[in-house]
Symmetry: D3
Subunit: 232 residues, 6 copies
């Protein structure tokens, strides 16, 4: 089984980190290739960033189809391009926000999301509503660290840890969902320190799409998600 | 007052029609300029089409800001790029789906949408949910005419008329919302033949954004819709 | 175009203020006449006040129909009598609460309502739910100034300004909706001091109904909102 | 215990029927007085009818308070004036629509409403939403008999019976809610012929308000439903 | 009329208290018998407790059917076994949580629940959602007294009173719903001290089921709640 | 990794089938043991059946904890005992209804459920609402085959196939969810004949719980799902 994990931003160090986290949770015999678009925003922190990242994501899907991948992960917490990607791919496509949040619903009454900048909270709330997890999402909390600073700020982990603690106390939640692919490498450390499950969407989505492929399940192609007409 | 109406697809004849319909309802002293992106899909009939149209829409917004427009209309029923456009523009931005559906809520208990292809119904339903009009939208009906055939199919009007009649009978609705900018010119004829209000989103959005400008109202710029950071 | 703006309470000074605010935003060639019932409560601060104001509102509609008005505004934030008015009028009827809240949905993620007495918050919440703006209404805040004191309390504006500031900080909203027609004259001052859009329902409803008339749209008259049977 | 049952319309024969049905279900020692306003519509079949009936309903409440009643029933399926009545009365006030629908929720998964004219369906739907029974109300069906014809149409019972049968078959419901006080006397006959529970709101509300009085429960008077200020 | 009130836990002193509270509100001529299962948990404070109590509750229903009872109350705030009990009984079955919360909806805009341990709040929230009272339930508050300590803790009443006061202040509610059958005897005292209606579910459910029997209403037996097939 | 799959009914042939289907999708190195309670209903077709199966399910969980299993599947489409099982187990517990329905949400706009008897539709609808998949569940359809007849009725597969075809046509869905563990072995055949994804909950839940264990995620144990107090 070959899975392609697409980092929608163009920051290579983040793509490498995402790939490592995805491969680490993939099952025996599963190959994970991590890529990112050649052009597009270096980080996704606004609706504009997300919109401008989508064409690159879709090019990666199209290239992936030519290369015969079995399934795809879109590794940005806004799940940019998820619906068009489902039109273009034969195999299943999973976004890290949907995977993280749906996985969290197995773990108790509810979860808290801890994300980067507060201006992205609205976008996360939109996804919560779309994915039907509004009753389970007990709060969305920003730690106010920009995406690219996750890799450079020496206090990033402690700031996120503190935001997680406040989220658990405020929301009474059963688990934490990390709201950015750039936090993927902190997942187990945070979980150990907090004493609750912490869900990294990259790992959750990789496991989810591997499961879909193993179950031979894929996007319905008879209606809304049929291959788009490009013959105009 | 100068308004810019953006047709997200690249079909010039549709841009011209949209511009004429918008100007026809604009108030005295309001100038309406209709444009479309230089590159992008010729019609928007899938999630992929919509996604690939957005960068061009945003370029038109950016150009519009340089030119000093007071407000914008995004003239495709999927409202592609509406949220990022609100980040980029100082003045108000209105999508034709939101304007058509919100306008329809003033007219009674509920409305029916009559749109082009059935594969777009899911996208329309998403907008219904996002805009809070689920209780008012009593049905979404496809007439199965592709967007570009609206201009060439000699039976287009009668097919749409029939779909409207069936929608009214099935849904018991108080008004019809036309689900494609390419139907804008049929609005008054359909209304006369049906005996109920028929809402063209291009007209509704033009009137809505003119109203916002007149009321000196614009997008909140202190949080989610602040100008995006492009300094990375 | 001739519009009739009905102040549901019987306080003449408020009717005059409402009429001035409505005329100020009406387009060229639009005449606005402001009236109020001859009998009824002097202010509307309870469910009882609202209920007792409705017969007078409906008499004004009936008189307006005889006089040939093109559209109507009901200028009290509880929108008293809106549904029966839609039965009685041929042209469109718009309430100031619905217009203010729907207009606010064009301006970002959400708005806060700042109203008079806390005992009216429940009624405002009912309208929020009916109008489908529950996801956009981020809070309803009372400034505890009775309606008639809006015109006599020398601290009214500063008290309202303070309530608006607290609402913005608490709710993280993109705009303020003023929850009483008696606040209409404060709209632009408050907006200037707060740095966000402030929506007066009288202005919003006047612009909305003018737009409906211009678009030749009116209440569906084939079912629920047909002229009522009075021949019993 | 003394209960006052208010028929909001002015048709005396209907008031007598309502009074008899209410008294028939009241417990030992409970006195039921049925009244109707002196002025107002003879039947309630539109939003306008309902609005114009409310002042008379509230006068009956005020008179009832002077006479020392322990609780009230508003005996029209639109529950006109329910909220203002709760402001004016010390004891509990129950509407027949809320009582019928809430009572029906004890009887299984869901119920169907069978009402008079189809133009009232929207109003019934509004109440369903307000009372939180949307998941339980599986359908609202009109039998197209005007209110006053319930007493004169010789086929009324068989027409209603047929509408009930169709409702049960279509909705798969566990019970029927009668959507008009004028159907109160048919309740047991219909139930016997249909083999399911049939709920008359007059009876349900009488039993409900008797229960509230017995439990010493009444409207909260510290906020929204405090006695309204009439000292202006 | 003979009613059977089933205490789902096996603590005899609580059964006695519940029986006394139920008989105290039953109408003239109504006999109330209180029982509890022979085996099962001594208190219900977890999902496990609730699940293990259900077989005993159902045995009591089956025994009740043999004895010819007219209706049943399930006297634990989680309403354990309510749906299967409705399958097994011919007459109506009412849970104390549903009765308390539905009764509270007659009393104003909303109520607060005051319950025992915070770990039960999720279960109460589930019931709020199932019963359609989410808009009316303004808060659920734990006083952190275990069920069995309600009878032994000398400070139980004052702790509960304090929790009620905080709930009213926080939620702005019109009434208090007591979230445990073990609080039944405190109802009137708390109401007197708080000045608002306090609803004990045992009393509310007894009155509700008595009303259903008097109205000749019972569970729909044609579908989901038909007698279960035990012939396998 | 060792997983325990619990068939809540006592029919051994069904337990064997469930075990085979679960093992077939488990990853390399994952051991699946299928068991069922010693006592309880032979099939689960009513609320009573489900309730009476739960104590046996919980005994299997308790025995599983003693034996050191890493995770559990509850293999009945009503997910009986899921919440108490989460209290009792250290590792994750997944029900087949939640897994099937959540898995289906990755595959497009929506799914249809095809289940056994129509009297179970209400229970499935309850789960749809609890799991937040109401927008994705486009219909629930009964094929009217009793659970135990799935193994003996020679027309079972063709009857289910027909029900699936009707569901797809009526609902316009992207996938089928099989509503009974007893249909697990038909999954791939049905999918091949229908040309859409068909989801067997046993397989979906096995893959889901294996994923949770691999991701080191488990139920939150600090609040509602802490080990229950049995020390009374």
């Amino acid at each position: 089984m070959r899975l392609k994990v697409i980092n929608p931003n163009t920051t290579a160090s983040m793509t490498a980190k995402i790939g490592a986290c995805a491969q680490a949770v993939a099952g025996p015999g599963v190959t994970v290739d991590a890529t990112s678009p050649r052009h597009g925003p270096a980080a996704i922190e606004s609706h504009t960033d997300a919109a401008l990242a989508v064409p690159g994501v879709l090019s990666e899907i199209t290239a992936g189809e030519a290369a015969g991948y079995d399934g795809y992960v879109i590794a940005c917490f806004g799940d940019p391009g998820l619906k068009p990607a489902r039109e273009l791919a034969r195999g299943p496509v999973v976004g890290i926000a949907e995977a993280a949040m749906r996985t969290a619903t197995y773990l108790g009454r509810g979860f808290s999301v801890v994300t980067t900048l507060s201006r992205t909270i609205g976008q996360a709330q939109d996804l919560v509503d779309q994915y039907g997890v509004a009753a389970s999402c007990l709060g969305i909390h920003a730690c106010e660290i920009p995406v690219l600073s996750l890799e450079t700020d020496p206090h990033a982990k402690s700031t996120i840890l503190q935001a997680c603690k406040e989220a658990l106390a405020t929301d009474g939640s059963d688990a934490i969902v990390l709201g950015c692919a750039g936090m993927a490498d902190l997942c187990h450390e945070l979980s150990n320190e907090l004493g609750v499950s912490v869900i990294d969407g990259v790992a959750a989505a990789t496991v989810a799409v591997e499961g879909l492929v193993r179950l031979r399940l894929t996007t319905g192609k008879l209606g809304e998600f049929a291959l788009p007409n490009t013959d105009r």
